[in-house]
């Protein structure tokens, strides 16, 4: 399947990835080839196949409405580049 550079740019933007102009070309052709490969699936006759939303044949898996321990505040924040008053601190977004 052919995919154009604009679509790759858009997908990169959605993924918050910055791509150089040169890598953009590479990705466009590589992702195009991957999509072409996956397109083979379209050759399957799925006329009588029920759509699946899940790969595992399980349904109705529940848990009880019971508390399990949460993390300590500092453990929760341990990967945060910045914190303040027990909060994750991020660049101002408003």
């Amino acid at each position: 399947m052919a995919i154009n550079k604009d679509t790759i740019k858009y997908v990169a933007k959605l993924s918050r990835i910055e791509l150089e102009e040169s890598t953009l070309e590479d990705f466009t052709s590589q992702i195009g080839r991957i999509l072409t490969y996956i397109e083979k699936l379209n050759q399957l006759d799925t006329e009588n196949t029920v759509p699946t939303s899940h790969a595992v044949e399980l349904k109705n898996v529940f848990r009880k409405d019971e508390n399990t321990p949460s993390l300590e505040n500092q453990a929760a924040l341990s990967n945060a580049p910045e914190q303040e008053n027990g909060h994750f601190k991020v660049p101002k977004i408003i």
Binding site: R16, T68, H87
Partner: protein, 476 residues
């Protein structure tokens, strides 16, 4: 040209259960930031969310009470967007297989009843909370993963007042179901509104604005009224309405465009591979339907039937579950329901309103036996109704019994004919002209004399005795 208003509401309701939608963290309100979080709701790699069974039960209850068809098959989807309050960068929600659809809600409008259709009810998780400081935004993920249902109405609402009524009705039903505290201030009920105008009689929808950030039902009504005026003015001046999100500013009583730099949303919904699908058997749905409690409309009809209340009285009492329960409990102990109803709807409610006491606290501030004791003291002429009106606020304020207050304040009714007669004599001497009028048959003049006696006794004389004793004295 006349314009008509088209409104659809999206209401998010937080369900009153113990733990989050897909993990065992508590959802208790008001805890220190980021202390009710775990690897699952923080969205750390490799964790597996599992659905809280009570979440589905409660959501199903709401859907059935809103007359929706509950789906036999449902699944969860990921809705992707980037925002710091969403640690996974996707929200678990339902896209094409929602819990329920095609319901309706009856609301009372000036001209009668109106049916507002419900498009769908779906389940999703809440995002976190952001606090904005001068130079940064702070993220608290305690709320992340909180179980919500989203109730989406069809654009059947035609005014801000109708939107207000719809919300009040919806809240009343949810409270009857006991699945949410519906407290807008705590964020357990949130409402976004889609609003557009179109020339009267047209069937195509105009361009809509989505209005957010209202934190009370009154705020919703004010924001919608503002939008109606804004959009109509724009249209009349030949302008066009831009499809956008607008934020209500309570202080300025205006909506403002939320100019966002971000591109149009592209949520890229996909089925969540971490959550298995759910099949709800017909029997389970029917069982849940049978177990629904009596809802406001049914309660109202029963109050009319069982207690001979008027449509109006029953409507008000049944609108609040706690008030209806209080009334029915009191009516068990005092066999004149209309009198209980009158006291509730006038003096008691006005005291609660003035003092900002929620109705659910009524049983505490005025236990039913205290109310009943007061009503009995009126019946046996210990106090008049008028005195009771003075005593009641005192009872509500101090928690004291009626009998204690009337003793303390010396408010017992005067039923001693001799005492009343001496006051009557005074009044007759002071009002010779009026006395002549009474003798010539003027009822109004008689009422004046009764009033004077009541005044002199500070409302304590038994009014019926005063009336008959004056008549006897003046031989009329």
């Amino acid at each position: 040209m006349q314009y008509e208003t088209v409104i659809g509401l999206e209401v998010h309701v937080q369900l009153d259960i113990n733990t989050k939608a897909f993990c065992g963290c508590s959802i208790e309100f008001g805890k220190p930031a980021n202390t009710q979080v775990c690897p699952i709701c923080l969205g750390l790699p490799g964790v597996l969310p599992v659905l809280n069974e009570k979440f589905l039960q409660y959501a199903m209850r709401a859907a059935l009470a809103l007359n929706c068809t509950v789906a036999n098959f449902l699944k969860f989807d990921r809705k992707h967007y980037y925002y710091p309050d969403l640690p996974k960068n996707y929200q678990i929600s339902q896209y094409d297989k929602p819990l329920a659809a095609n319901g309706h809600l009856q609301i009372k409008i000036e001209t009668g009843q109106k049916k507002i259709r419900i498009l769908r009810v779906h389940m999703e998780e809440d995002a976190g909370k952001l606090i904005h400081t001068k130079d940064a935004s702070l993220v608290d993920l305690n709320r992340t993963g909180t179980p919500l249902i989203e109730i989406v109405s069809q654009p059947d609402i035609s005014s801000a007042a109708e939107a207000y009524t719809y919300l009040t009705r919806l809240k009343s039903i949810l409270e009857y179901l006991e699945i949410s505290d519906c407290d807008m201030e705590k964020g357990s009920l949130r409402c976004d509104a889609n609003i557009s105008l179109r020339p009267q009689g047209h069937t195509t929808l105009g361009t809509k604005a989505e209005v957010k950030n209202m934190n009370s039902f009154k705020g919703v009504r004010d924001a919608l009224n503002y939008e109606i005026i804004r959009q109509e003015k724009t249209l009349r001046e030949g302008g066009t309405i831009i499809q956008e999100t607008r934020l209500w500013n309570e202080e300025k009583q205006k909506t403002f465009s939320m100019r966002s730099k971000e591109e149009a949303h592209d949520y890229r919904y996909i089925p969540d591979p971490d959550l298995v699908p759910f099949v709800i058997e017909k029997e389970a749905i029917e069982k849940a339907r049978r177990e629904l409690p009596e809802l406001p409309q049914a309660k109202k009809e029963r109050l009319i039937k069982d207690y001979s209340l008027s449509d109006y009285d029953a409507g008000i009492l049944s609108a609040d579950k706690q008030l209806a329960i209080y009334f029915e409990d009191a009516a068990q102990n005092y066999k004149q329901p209309k009198i209980i109803c009158n006291w509730l709807m006038s003096d008691i409610m006005s005291y609660l309103n003035t003092n900002n006491i929620p109705i659910k606290k009524l049983k505490e501030v005025l236990p039913i036996d205290k109310l009943v004791a007061m009503l009995k003291l009126i019946d046996n002429n210990t106090i008049s109704g008028k005195i009771a009106k003075q005593v009641l606020p005192e009872m509500l304020k101090t928690g004291k019994d009626t009998s204690v207050i009337i003793k303390e304040k010396n408010l017992s009714q005067i039923t001693d004919a001799g005492v009343i007669e001496s006051v009557i004599n005074e009044v007759i001497n002071e009002n010779e002209k009026v006395v002549e009028e009474v003798k010539s048959g003027k009822d109004k003049a008689l009422m004046f004399l009764v009033g004077q006696v009541m005044k002199k006794t500070r409302g304590k004389a038994n009014p019926r005795m005063v009336n008959s004793l004056i008549k006897k004295k003046l031989e009329v």
